[in-house]
Symmetry: C2
Subunit: 383 residues, 2 copies
Amino acid sequence: MIPVDVHSPASSPTVVHVPLGERAYDILIGRGALAASTERIAALGARSAMIVSDGHVLPRHGEALEAVLAQAGLRVATITVPPGEGSKNYAELERVSNALLDAKIERRDLVVALGGGVVGDLAGFAAAILRRGVRFVQVPTSLLAQVDSSVGGKTGINAPAGKNLIGAFHQPALVVADTALLDTLPERELRAGYAEIVKYGLIDDRAFFEWCEANAARVFAGGPERDHAVAVSCRAKAAVVVEDEREEGRRQLLNLGHTFAHALERIVAYDGARLVHGEAVAIGLVLAYRFSAQLGLCPGQDAERVRRHVAGLGLPSSLAEVPGGFGSPEAILDAMAQDKKVKAGRLTFILARGIGESFVQDDVAADDVLAFLRQAAAEAVPA
Amino acid sequence: MIPVDVHSPASSPTVVHVPLGERAYDILIGRGALAASTERIAALGARSAMIVSDGHVLPRHGEALEAVLAQAGLRVATITVPPGEGSKNYAELERVSNALLDAKIERRDLVVALGGGVVGDLAGFAAAILRRGVRFVQVPTSLLAQVDSSVGGKTGINAPAGKNLIGAFHQPALVVADTALLDTLPERELRAGYAEIVKYGLIDDRAFFEWCEANAARVFAGGPERDHAVAVSCRAKAAVVVEDEREEGRRQLLNLGHTFAHALERIVAYDGARLVHGEAVAIGLVLAYRFSAQLGLCPGQDAERVRRHVAGLGLPSSLAEVPGGFGSPEAILDAMAQDKKVKAGRLTFILARGIGESFVQDDVAADDVLAFLRQAAAEAVPA
C-alpha cells in the first residue's frame, strides 16, 4: 500500500467530453486534476492498473499517480521505457505487452500512460493490441501531449520508413491533463508544446489566435491562462475527432504545418537535440502560411503575422533555423513523399485562406512545393 | 505481367454476406472461387496488393493468385513467412510490416493472406496496424482457415503467456474460400479442420450435426458436400460475429471445446507434431459434452454420440490420445487459468444442454473442473 500524499486540487477540473458513442470519454483539465481524478478512475470499475512511464517522468509524478490509483481501489504495477522517441519501436512494444500480460492485465483493466507523447503513443498502442483491446488512461505530462497526442485515439510506433506508420486508433477511457505537472518542464519543451496550441487558432479559430498573441506569456507562466489554453485546444481537437475519428476527411486539418514538420524531423533524423516535434511544427506552421500566400490563397500579412508570433516566442520559424542545416529543397520534398498522408502519389497539404481559415488540399503539384521550398531555402542562406 | 493461367470455375461461388455495417464483406465459397474472384477484387478499387504467404503454400497456389490480382489491375508484391505457428511473433510481424511499407502499400491497398490460420492471423494483424489499418483479403488454403480463422476479423500473434494474446479485430474486405485448394492438403490437416465444422452443429444446429454424421466422408472426398459444409460453417460463424463482433457475449459460443483445447495445446507446447489445433478442438468438444453430462446439464447419450462421431473420423477424442501425454489434471487446470477468457479469476466454459444447445457459463468452479479432469484422466491410464 502506497502512502497517500497527493496535493488537493486548487479548484474542480474543467471537463471536456468527447462524444464518440460507445468510445466516449472525458478529459479532466486543470491544476490538481490528477488528485481530483480518484472517483472518476474508480468509476471505471477496473481491478488492476499498470502504469507505463519513463525514467524521467516516473520519479517526478509516479508516487502521486500510484496514490490516486490505490485510492481508487486498484492493484498497481509499473513499467518504464527509456525516455525519447527511440522507444517507439517493436522491441519496446513487445517488452511492454509482455509486462502487461505478466501483470495479468485483462480487458476491463487499465493501462495508464504517464508521460509525454512517446509514452502515450506506445502505451496506448500496447493497450490497443493486448487481448485485442484493453482500456487505457492518459496522464500526459508534457504540454504537447496535453493538447495533442493524448486526445484523439491515435497510438503507434515508428518504422524505418517513417514515424507513426504502425499503430491503431484506440480511444482512451479517460484523460487527466493536470497542468501543474508542467511546472517542472524545461522551457524549451513548454515552448515546443505551445506550437500545437497556436495551431488550433490557425486551423479555424481566429479569435483564439488573437487570444494567444495577447496571452502566450501567461500560458508559459502557468496561470489560469494555461488551463484555458489547454482546455480550448482539447475542445478543438475533440470536435474534429468526433467528426472524423479515423482521419478520412476533416481530421486532416490537424496536420496543419505537419507535412513540412515531418519532413524536417526526418531530415534531422528525429534528433531531438536539433529539433523536437513542436519546434518542427512551429516552422511548419509558418511555412504552410507562407506557401499559402505564395499560391495566392492567403494575404501575405497573415503569413507574416503568424511568423511574427511564432518567432516572438523564441520558436524557430524558418528553414535557416534548423540546427545543423535542412539539407536541400529536394531533400525536403523527398522526405515529404514518404509521409503517410501521400495518397495515390499526390501530395496533400493543409493550406489557409487566412488566419483561422485552413482547408485540405489533396492535389498539390510537387513542382509548386519545390518552387516554394527553393525560395524559402534561398532566404536561409546568409547573404 | 504474369501469364494468365487460372482454372475456370466449375460453377458460380456461393456468396455469404457478413453484414457488419461499414465493415461488411462477402465470403466467396466453392470450387474455382479464386479464379471467379477477379471482378470482386477489381471492384475494391485498390492500386496495389501484397501477398503474404508461406513457403509451403506459395509454390502451390501463388501463381493462380498473382494471375487473379494482375487481371484485377493490381500491382503485386509478395512476401513469405516460415510455415507454422512459430511465425506468429513480433519479429515476423515487424518484418512483414516493413515489407508492406517498402512496397508502398497505402490505406486503400490490399494485404492478401494466402495460407492457413497462421498466415491469415499474422497478415491480418499486419494489415490492421499498418498506417492504423489497411484493407486485407483472406484466401484461406486450409479447411480450418476456410471455416474458422478467415471469418470474423480476429487477427494476432502469440506471446510467451499464451496464443493470440496480442492482436486486433480487423475485418477483411473479402474472403475467397476456394475449396479446390484443399485437394492437396494432407489427410491429417483436413480431419483437424473438420473438427471446427462439426462444432457449428454442436453449438446451435442439431440438424447440421446429423448432416455431418451422414456426410463427413463426402466432405473429405471433396464433393459438393465439402462446399456445403464450408458454406454452412461460414454462415454460422458470420451470424454469431454480426451479433457480437468484439466477443463480449454470444460470440464466446464459438469457443465451444476451446478452453480444453487451448490448455492441451499449451501442455504440448504448441507442438503440431503432437497435436494440431483442430485435433485439440476435437478432444475439447468431446470433453465439453462429457463435462456438461457430468454436471447433469446434458444427457449422457448426447456426449457419447459426440465422442462416437469424432472418434469415428479418426480424430482424437480423449486425454489418453494426447501424444506424449497430457501432464496431469492440475496441469490442465493451470493451463486453463492462463487462457485469456478468464474474467476476474473465474473460469468461463461453453457447456451444452444437448447437441445443438450450447451456452456460455462464466462462473464455473475450479473444483468441478478439477474433479471432471481427474475422472477423465483416470480413464486415460491403461488398466
